[in-house]
């Protein structure tokens, strides 16, 4: 999908304050590029989309789309939302409660100048693509959560915006529909010549649809790049958590890594200074007794939480090295672990991936 990046289409430098919350970030999206925005709850993802759509004026910075300045406080420019062609899927859909599903979809088309029958036809077509054409005549306040989300998605895609802003477009969908909507969306976006910003909590969605990921935390960009770049060297615990990895901040001195609480780990390759450490949960072993043999790192600890995940189990252990270990449900039963159990954890030095905390 590289090579699709042509000209920079969206060029946004954003400073915004809502209530106590501040958002400061720069975002460039090329024509045809899909950027996925991920971040913890309350990190400002929705605020970012609202700002791009013109529903929240900038307090500083500048937003340009396709060369047109949309918002620039310094130059006193503020293009109103209806003149922006930045179609947004709202997190809570905001279907018009007094209209039917098809009238909701037709609304956007009519607003963009389509005739009545044309709008109706295209609305029905889009409802069909979202597999909700049988609900065309339902009042939108009678739709179920997932149905409403699909109608809302049809509504925004039908208007064919220049910039597409999708706020968790698949959160309420059932598994089957989610796969097919994700596919539809990907096909649509592959042909789509505009820019797209997609907010999601699901790295799978992001990986399937987006060319690039932007991680927002507390109103600022924490990291960006492809899924692979981000997950090999995550810079925050949120990002490591996205892929289920353990992240530790350490200070390195040769192959000895010292945690802030004084505990130490042995790495395979030497380094120095402040470093980040990633350990895959699968590479951490748990034992009832002190293990014999090769692992260079082993320490006694206690189980703090046990998360079941189908046939696999994630066991969180506490001090001195708070990490999550992933074992099978069978091992869990064999070890007889419960929360609070004493346990030995071990990890091979080669499984400890170290990289500088700053830069890179």
């Amino acid at each position: 999908m590289a090579g699709r990046h042509q000209a920079v289409s969206l060029d946004a430098e954003i400073s915004v304050t809502v209530g106590e919350f501040e958002l400061h970030l720069d975002l460039d999206v090329a024509d045809g590029e899909v950027v996925a925005v991920l971040g913890p709850n309350g990190s400002g993802k929705t605020t970012l989309l609202r700002t791009l759509a013109g529903l929240q004026p900038l307090s500083g910075g500048r937003i340009t789309l396709d060369g047109q300045v949309l918002d620039d406080p310094a130059a006193k420019v503020l293009v109103p939302p209806e003149s922006r062609r930045c179609g947004m899927l709202f997190q809570d859909y905001l279907l018009f409660p007094h209209l039917t599903a098809v009238a909701n979809v037709a609304f956007g088309l009519r607003s963009r100048g389509a005739s009545k029958s044309e709008a109706n036809d295209r609305a029905l077509e889009w409802l069909g693509r979202m597999e909700v054409v049988h609900l065309a005549q339902s009042k939108s306040r009678h739709l179920s959560g997932g149905e409403a989300q699909r109608v809302a998605l049809a509504r925004v895609l039908a208007t064919d915006p220049k910039l597409l802003l999708l706020d968790e477009p698949m959160a309420a969908l059932d598994v089957g529909t989610r796969g097919s909507v994700r596919h539809r969306l990907r096909c649509h976006l592959a042909e789509f010549t505009g820019a797209c910003v997609l907010v999601t909590h699901d790295p799978l969605d992001a990986a399937a649809i987006a060319d690039r990921l932007v991680i927002v935390e507390a109103g600022r960009i924490a990291q960006q790049g492809t899924l692979k770049e981000i997950t090999t060297h995550p810079r925050t615990t949120y990002i490591a958590g996205l892929m289920g990895l353990n992240l530790l901040t350490v200070s390195a001195n040769g192959t000895t890594l010292t945690l802030p609480n004084g505990a130490t780990l042995q790495a395979a390759s030497p380094a120095s200074g402040e470093m980040l450490v990633v350990i895959a949960p699968q590479s951490i072993s748990l034992h009832l007794e002190r293990p014999e043999g090769s692992p260079r790192n082993m320490w006694p600890t206690r189980v703090s939480e046990i998360h079941l995940m189908g046939d696999r189990v994630r066991v969180l252990v506490g001090d001195p090295v708070p990490v999550a270990a992933e074992i099978t449900a069978v091992s869990l039963a064999e070890l007889g672990l419960t929360e609070g159990s004493p346990v030995w954890a071990s990890v091979k030095a080669t499984q400890i991936d170290t990289y500088p905390a700053h830069g890179g």
Binding site: L55, P80, R85, L94, H98, S111
Partner: protein, 267 residues
């Protein structure tokens, strides 16, 4: 018994109070029915005096309601949706004509639109438009007194509406006017209808401002409340019959409008 019929019964206490209220409103109206001169009802009502008054009442009150909608809704929107300075002052101003004793309202109108007054003089000398003691004046008086009811109701409705739906409409490319017409208005419809009904009712019952500003001239400014006031002193039965006619007409209008409007919005 269907599921809908099984929905909860309202609390007895509330039903008791509601019934009391209904009785309080109904008994006087029933009393009126006993007082009407039924025998001569048709003759009384078909006299030119009564017909003129009824016709004039309907014309003036509908004009006043229309003017209130045209003038009042934009003001309500500005009060509810913008942050212009002086908003609170304007809001207070919009409430004042409601509180002013209507006769004083009439005096105030004379001071503004009288022949020698601030606005009245130029209007007369430039356009030959004269308000006092004309039907236009009666309309103006009713509008002045009734419009605040619309402004207050519509502003309150706009405030309690979730304005994010308007954002969604704008995002879909709807300009302000389209958003207002297709999203805002339907969503505040119950209150808009209520406000319009209140305004119309207030205009229809207007007495003090009309008689002071526009006089009591048959066929020109003598609306039904004025005619009734006059008639009440000499012929109570006829006055009551005329009032009942007014009631009937207004109920018919309200009910049919309500059905029509609400029908269009939530079937």
């Amino acid at each position: 018994m269907t599921a809908a019929e099984r929905s909860r019964r309202p609390p007895v206490f509330v039903l008791v109070v509601a019934s009391l209220t209904v009785a309080f409103l109904a008994v006087p109206l029933v009393g009126l029915l006993t007082k009407a001169s039924w025998g001569t009802l048709w003759r009384d009502l078909s006299s030119p005096f009564a017909l003129d008054a009824l016709r004039l009442s309907l014309i003036c009150s509908l004009w006043a309601t229309g003017l209130s909608l045209v003038l009042g809704v934009p003001l309500a929107w500005v009060l509810a949706r913008t942050r212009l300075p002086g908003r609170n002052l304007v809001r207070a101003l919009a409430i004042l004509p409601m509180v002013l004793p209507p006769v004083v309202g009439g005096v105030a109108l004379l001071l503004a639109f009288g022949r020698d007054a601030l606005l009245g003089r130029p209007l007369y000398s430039l356009f030959g438009i004269q308000f006092p003691y004309t039907t236009a004046g009666a309309v103006l008086a009713e509008t002045f007194v009734a419009m605040p009811f619309l402004i207050v109701t519509v502003e309150a409705a706009l405030r309690s509406m979730d304005s994010r739906y308007e954002e969604a409409a704008a995002n879909l490319g709807a300009g302000r006017w389209r958003t207002f017409r297709r999203v805002t208005l339907p969503m505040i419809a119950p209150s808009l209808i209520a406000g319009t009904a209140l305004t119309w009712a207030r205009a229809l019952g207007e007495f003090g401002a009309t008689i002071t500003f526009a006089g009591d001239i048959q066929g020109r400014t003598q609306t039904l409340p004025l005619a009734v006031y006059l008639e009440l002193q000499s012929n109570e039965g006829v006055a009551v019959a005329m009032s009942l006619a007014l009631l009937t007409v207004s109920i018919v209008v309200l009910v049919s409008l309500r059905g029509r409007w609400l029908g269009a919005i939530r079937p």
